[in-house]
């Protein structure tokens, strides 16, 4: 006869409510861990997907994610000339916020080096990769945009030709992929009036410098698009991502490029470390702290529940002692209830969490390691929490039945 089971059956309503409440608390603990894993996954997603061997950024910066990096676009071609380099692609990324149906829509714009890179490496779940140099885009499902939908960014209208899955930026915003030129056009889009004012200012400046005085054609060009100005050139890019030929050691290639005085080179692992330390570290600490606090709160609540359940049974426990029950019978009664409460609450947390986490605004990733660890912690706190009740139960004297 299992006393713990019979007691639970006798007070099944109370037990279910207690388990459910505790389960919700554990679900939050589980969710906190999942959010942290989601942060890490989001942060390193693009780096992992691109699988570049090297990241070349502006000298002495930790770009392009941890801080701003600006390098000339022609660096892409310079790098391609280095022995051992298989491919070299410009990397452009920026976040913009637009209004859509009265709600803010945050998009991380990602530039692809057209025509080498059409986005075929992306997890496209509907539609296709980019098929032309301009006015097409791929959007992540999380942005809730429809395939074939046309959206105006800047002065141009873009058609969504493909949808990707789980492509979010380190900040959790959905990504949209454009050709590099389109991404920069969106990034550096300015109003007509601003352009006119900038051109007149540029014209005035050029008239007062030696270059303008000696080369009248330059002064004429200041009134045209900035991209046609030899002194200005095309807008800078954030980084160049490099893949090394299989027969070459990426470290050798890295040390070669690292000697250039205008750039800093990171390998994939270093770039991931920069991302995690720069972007995720504080969130990790904060979530970790919350998690520890919630585990402590759960343990205290469990201890109080089990203590109260034990107090309710003190007379019965005294009676059990009086008729000669061993301490192990009493210990078993409390401990089994504690473990059952913990295990079932964990089950509730797991089931509700699996149903609820996809609706969370941030990605929640449950790894089996984390789940096992939390399960072990729950078993641990179940045992520790029951100690208070066990100590009280073991101090009950059988003569209390006579009182």
């Amino acid at each position: 006869m299992n006393l713990a089971r019979r007691d639970i059956q006798h007070n099944i309503g109370r037990f279910i409510l207690t388990t459910f409440g505790l389960g919700l608390l554990l679900m939050i603990v589980m969710g906190m861990g999942g959010i942290y894993r989601g942060l890490v996954q989001d942060a390193t997603l693009l780096v992992d997907r691109l699988a570049a061997d090297l990241w070349i950024v502006q000298k002495d910066t930790r770009g392009p994610f941890a801080e701003i990096s600006r390098i000339p676009r022609n660096l892409e071609d310079r790098v391609l000339a280095v022995p051992g380099v298989l491919s070299s692609n410009a990397f452009v990324s920026h976040t913009m916020q637009r209004e859509r149906n009265g709600k803010p829509l945050r998009i991380t714009v990602q530039g692809l080096s057209w025509p080498q890179d059409k986005g075929n490496w992306l997890p496209i779940v509907a539609g296709r990769a980019l098929g032309q140099a301009h006015y097409e885009m791929l959007a992540d499902e999380s942005l809730n945009l429809r395939l074939g939908e046309k959206i105006k960014f800047g002065k141009d209208i873009y058609t969504i030709v493909g949808l990707t899955r789980a492509m979010t930026s380190p900040s959790g915003d959905g990504m949209a992929f454009f050709t590099l030129d389109d991404a920069q056009a969106i990034q550096f889009d300015t109003s007509g009036e601003s352009i006119r004012l900038e051109r007149s200012a540029r014209y005035a400046r050029a008239q007062n410098i030696d270059l303008g005085k000696t080369q009248p054609q330059t002064i004429e060009r200041t009134l045209g698009p900035s991209s046609q100005l030899p002194a200005l050139g095309p807008p800078p890019i954030s980084a160049v991502v490099v893949k090394v030929r299989p027969s070459y050691n990426p470290e050798q290639v890295r040390s070669l490029i690292a000697k250039w005085p205008d750039v800093t080179v990171y390998n994939m692992q270093q770039q991931k470390q920069l991302l995690l330390r720069g972007i995720v570290e504080r969130s990790r600490r904060q979530l970790g702290l919350f998690r520890i606090l919630l585990i402590i709160v759960s343990a205290i609540i469990m201890a109080l529940i089990l203590y109260t359940l034990t107090l309710d049974k003190l007379h019965d426990i005294a009676m059990l002692k009086l008729i000669g029950a061993r301490n192990s019978v009493i210990l078993g009664l409390i401990m089994q209830q504690a473990l059952l409460l913990g295990i079932l609450a964990y089950g509730v947390a797991y089931i509700i969490g699996h149903w609820l986490f996809p609706f969370f605004p941030r990605k929640v990733v449950l790894t089996s390691n984390d789940l096992w660890l939390l399960a072990a912690i729950v078993v641990g706190i179940s045992i520790i929490s029951s100690l208070l009740g066990i100590v009280r139960a073991l101090t009950v004297e059988p003569n209390e039945v006579l009182a």
Partner: protein
Amino acid sequence: MSSKNTTMKAENLTKIFGSGHTEVVAVRDVSLAVNRGEIVALLGPSGAGKSTLLALLGLIRPPNTGRITIDGTVVFENHQAKVNVRRFRRQKFGFVFQKANLIPFLTAAENVRLAMEIDDQPAKVSKKRANELLDYLGVLDRADNMQSQLSGGEQQRVAVARALANHPSLILADEPTAALDSVRGRQVMELFAKVAHEQNAGVVVVTHDHRALDIFDRTLEMEDGQLRKSYN
């Protein structure tokens, strides 16, 4: 005072609570023996020390001085337990109180079985004996009922069944009829006599109820912690 048939022998038991100004001598130099098959009434006014004496005899509290011997084994020598007291209570004693004190989350049958199963008896054996005892005490039809579904008299019968479960040498009852009307009270007392005689157990009943004294083989009277009278 004792014979081969003696199941319990208490010699010079004294129990003192508190110390100094608050010292109370609840039981003072009490000696008695109870034989198998004998039912003994323990009478006395409130505060006479009856329940304390019962707690000493039932190994629930240790005496300050004196000796308790159960079935030839010395259990307490002064305040020192000589054996595993809880095991002794489990195997040699049956207890019945004013309230039945059934475990509320168990059925009547499970309450009886519990006494056997905590003594490591197999479930099959405990089920069979529980049913036999409930039948013997006339409450077999209430075997699957919880405490809350039983009347006071039925609860006491189940408590008696539980007390008998492990074939005890001695049954100790503390005012078992106090919560019952006179008819049911007498029925329970008759039940104890039946148990004593048929199950060959010694039975000590603390009671205030003088109407059922004819049922007892022997009556002891306590006053101020001492046994004053003993008559058959």
